[in-house]
């Protein structure tokens, strides 16, 4: 969908993997930019209908660029810089909680928080 403009600058490259395939990008690019430049128009499918989704806003608002990065799901690909040896996996439906046996594998997402607010009787301001 996108191509890089030719640049005269020395561009230090980093190599990350997307679904196990090596992708080389310029240092400092976001994971979302890396996915788009590698020709991936979508980075996840939705939990509700399984529809494919790709980055929409590129600035952390829409959450449609969610992917798993280094085994943690629901990461905003547009907000995270590509790093050497980073493991990016396109996400199918809801995030999967990796069975690492450690407490840091669980993630609170805002969907759950919205539920909490509801149960406790969210009121209009």
């Amino acid at each position: 969908m996108y191509r890089r403009l030719p640049s005269n600058l020395p561009s230090p490259a980093v190599t990350l993997s997307v679904d196990g395939v090596a992708v080389s990008v310029r240092a400092g690019e976001s994971v979302a930019a890396a996915l788009l430049l590698a020709g991936h128009s979508h980075g996840r499918t939705t939990p509700v209908t399984g529809a494919p989704r790709g980055p929409y806003c590129m600035m952390g608002v829409c959450f449609d660029c969610l992917v798993a990065i280094d085994r943690i799901g629901n990461r905003q690909a547009c907000m995270i810089e590509a790093r050497e040896a980073m493991r990016v996996e396109r996400q199918t439906g809801t995030r999967q909680i990796a069975d690492t046996g450690q407490i840091d594998s669980g993630q609170i997402d805002s969907g759950q928080i919205a539920d909490t607010g509801q149960i406790n009787g969210t009121r209009s301001p």
């Binding site: 930019a33 979508h42 929409y56 805002s110």
Partner: protein, 477 residues
């Protein structure tokens, strides 16, 4: 810490430089890895050729980011604010680490976000916002592989198209959705806007440049729809009395920008409906003070005024904070502010003109098609919201309970304006009568691991509960 500033865009950077210069201890929190906000985003290594294509305002922004970086401030990039208490305790996360910061004063400089454009098919891969494509250009030196179609309303359409052309990419067409009646409404503000003649001249030069480059402009487009099954294949619309179609793999949508008021809303600051800009904005005092003590808002997060105004507003907010902290007497504060207020008054005339000229068409804000997705996260359609309104949902919180709209990871950021507009239309009331969502912490996803890093890991869950329930308890008091 005397002052915590959230956001390192023009307002945040200007506030930080002013406060630092006045002897305040300042911390600047920003989610991006590099300063500049969205408007002055940049790649890791600056690229002079690219910067030339981005224009003189961008060059000004680069100079500001260099000054900011050289000032020796406590600048915390790649750090998210995920909770802010009324006692001004900031809960932050960076990677897998969480931390807390207590500040005597807080300035929220969270900037703007693009208004959602809920046309049928806008969730397909290959449909992005105009701002998103501009971020691809600024941060990755990337342009659309094949000519994109830009659609909607607002100066950003022409700016991005010009920047793409300047960078050597071609643009297929600009499909304009602003109603013709906007011109008449805007004309009344032309004399005031002419005081900013440089801005208008720049706009006209952009339009001439696009014409030279052979970029088609289609005026008065209505009924926009993206076609495609797994991804975007075409933009279809009505214009000039007949149906038109552009086959393209990339459609870029834009209907102006609105304040990113997520944090000020969550904090419970009073907000007012702005009928000119069709958005909620925090109620602010002369120094950007919100109705919550010690918390100010500066820049586009307080109402859309643009990057130049944002710098002035950031400086004003810093002067106000310095005074409240007893580091600056009222006379010196007001003297420093006079020049800024005069500059803001000049910019205001042009802003009113732009607001009216590019005011979004109702059809772009409220999809006529019941099947159009409104809440992208939970895939709730316009028809479902209308049904909820008929069943008695008076506001967003009820619509959320009926349909799950706003309950996904974006926390309603992408659907709130649309859901409110649909309910207002269905109830036959002003949008000001439809209460917005009350966002809650964590504003951004945070891992239990990060929470555990705050205190004893064994208390991670209790720590989470503390943040989640605190506000509710207080609501009941």
């Amino acid at each position: 810490m005397d002052l915590a500033i959230v956001g390192a865009g023009p307002a945040g950077m200007a506030a930080a430089l002013e406060a630092h210069g006045r002897g305040l201890s300042v911390a600047v929190i920003d989610e991006q890895p590099r300063p500049g906000g969205q408007i002055y985003r940049r790649p890791e290594t600056r690229d002079v050729t690219l910067e030339r294509a981005l224009g003189p305002e961008y060059a000004h922004g680069m100079a500001l980011t260099e000054r900011f970086l050289a000032a020796g401030l406590d600048y915390r990039p790649a750090t998210a604010l995920w909770d802010l208490s009324a006692e001004r305790k900031l809960s932050l996360s960076s990677g897998e680490r969480a931390s807390e910061l207590d500040a005597a004063q807080v300035i929220l400089a969270t900037g703007a976000m693009e208004r959602p454009v809920p046309v049928p098919g806008w969730t397909l891969p290959g449909v992005m916002s105009v701002g998103a494509a501009q971020i691809m250009l600024k941060t990755a030196g990337a342009v659309p592989r094949s000519p994109a179609v830009l659609a909607g309303s607002g100066p950003l359409l022409y700016l991005l198209a010009s920047q793409l052309v300047e960078a050597g990419a071609s643009v297929r067409a600009i499909v304009e959705t602003a109603p013709a009646s906007n011109r008449l409404a805007a004309a009344a503000h032309l004399p005031a806007a002419l005081r900013q003649h440089k801005l208008l001249a720049k706009g006209l030069a952009m339009l001439r440049g696009l014409k030279r480059a052979g970029v088609a402009r289609i005026e008065g487009a209505r009924g926009l729809r993206i076609e495609g099954t797994e991804r975007c294949q075409a933009l279809v619309f009505q214009a000039g009395g007949f149906s038109q179609r552009f086959d393209t793999e990339l459609v870029l949508l834009h209907e102006g920008v609105i304040p990113n008021a997520h944090v000020s809303m969550a904090l419970g600051c009073a907000h007012d409906w702005d009928e000119a800009q069709l958005c909620w904005r925090p109620r602010l005092g002369p120094w950007g003070e919100t109705t919550v003590e010690g918390v100010a808002v500066a820049g586009d997060g307080g109402g859309i005024n643009g990057a130049e105004a944002a710098e002035h507003l950031g400086t004003l907010a810093a002067l106000g904070a310095a005074h409240r902290l007893g580091k600056l007497d009222a006379g010196a504060r007001d003297k420093a502010a006079a020049r800024l207020r005069a500059a803001l008054a000049r910019l205001d005339g042009a802003r009113r003109f732009i607001d009216l000229l590019y005011r979004p068409a109702m059809g772009q804000r409220v999809p006529a098609d019941d099947a159009a997705i409104v809440c992208r996260c939970e895939e709730v359609t316009a028809g479902e919201i209308r049904r909820a309104a008929r069943l008695g949902a008076l506001g967003l919180t009820q619509a959320k309970a009926y349909t799950r709209c706003g309950m996904g990871p974006c926390q309603g950021r992408m659907c709130a304006p649309t859901v409110a507009a649909i309910i207002a239309a269905a109830r036959g009331v002003d949008e000001s009568a439809v209460a917005p969502y009350r966002p809650r912490a964590p504003y951004k996803p945070v891992t239990l691991g990060a929470l555990a890093s705050l205190r004893d890991p064994a208390f991670a869950v209790e720590s989470a509960a503390e943040h989640l329930y605190r506000r509710d308890v207080k609501d009941e008091v």
